[in-house]
Symmetry: C2
Subunit: 145 residues, 2 copies
DNA sequence: TTGTTATTTTATAATTATTATAATATTGTA
DNA sequence: TACAATATTATAATAATTATAAAATAACAA
């Protein structure tokens, strides 16, 4: 049986040369579901690659995004860009207080994607469906003021 | 008959003090459909208010966004934030070549919004539903290389 | 209207996310 | 192994956004 995520071949298929840093960044983004920023990734990776530079993280993320292997979510109330390794159209839900982003399921996303694909005339690369508000935990915190 | 857009009362209702600069920024964002960045707004407004500062534009946009009068769309292939005065949930379609953003209708947006409102537990403030790709014009340009 | 106070606007400087550059290191391959 | 192409790193540069504080303006009471 083959491994669930064959990162190496995915990178190669996309024409991206395989290096330990890229593997670490890509697999971190695939494994974690927390939609991190470049800096958050940098801090994580540094535990295993103490000499990695933030530039490498940015280079890798831009490369992965250009080839369509990851998705750029944009800001989440803070001012840095969040990334998502889940490139299937789906809904993200961002909390503008704690800046966490979670995935949720919606039966309408695929229908909407198909609709736009067939009617817009655009050559679509991806979607960023992000609802924002206060998560349950942050709603409770603001009550206790 | 009352005017279609009563900017003054909208600002007042939101607790925002009315100034000529704020009126100009808000009405520009309501009238134009091109989802501009802060700098694009600055350049437009400067034709009527030669001494306006970019800081005022940022202050006003942040204030309008905080009170929920406008929507923050995030980046569109460039690296500055785009704004939208249409706060009804709707679909934006961004071209990553020319960085234009247009609105399109989708019958699924409202259904999706209601679904998330009732099932997520989040206190929702807005949505950013953005599909990206190449617009028809830019597809033609890239063919002629 | 006029005077007073709080709020805004503006100019300037500071911050910070991201990108550019160039030297060094590593990868793929003959 | 050795060569050529590409990647990584450290550093500096860029540019969007925010902070600060003085000057200007809006709200409002008398």
């Amino acid at each position: 049986m083959k491994p669930n995520h064959d990162f190496t071949s995915k990178l190669k298929q996309a024409g991206i040369r395989v290096t330990p840093q890229r593997m670490a960044i890509y697999s971190l983004l695939m494994d974690y579901k927390n939609h991190p920023t470049a800096f958050m990734i940098y801090e994580q990776i540094r535990e295993n690659f103490p000499s990695i530079s933030l530039m490498t993280v940015y280079n890798t993320l831009n490369m992965l995004a250009d080839r369509g292997l990851i998705n750029v979510l944009g800001h989440a109330g803070d001012d840095s860009v969040h990334y998502d390794a889940d490139i299937e159209p789906h809904v993200n839900l961002a909390c503008i207080s704690c800046h966490n982003i979670v995935d949720i399921n919606s039966k309408y996303v695929n229908q909407m994607t198909n609709e736009i694909n067939s009617t817009s005339g655009y050559q679509l690369f991806g979607a960023r469906v992000l609802f924002y508000g206060n998560c349950p935990a942050c709603q409770n915190q603001s009550r206790s003021h």
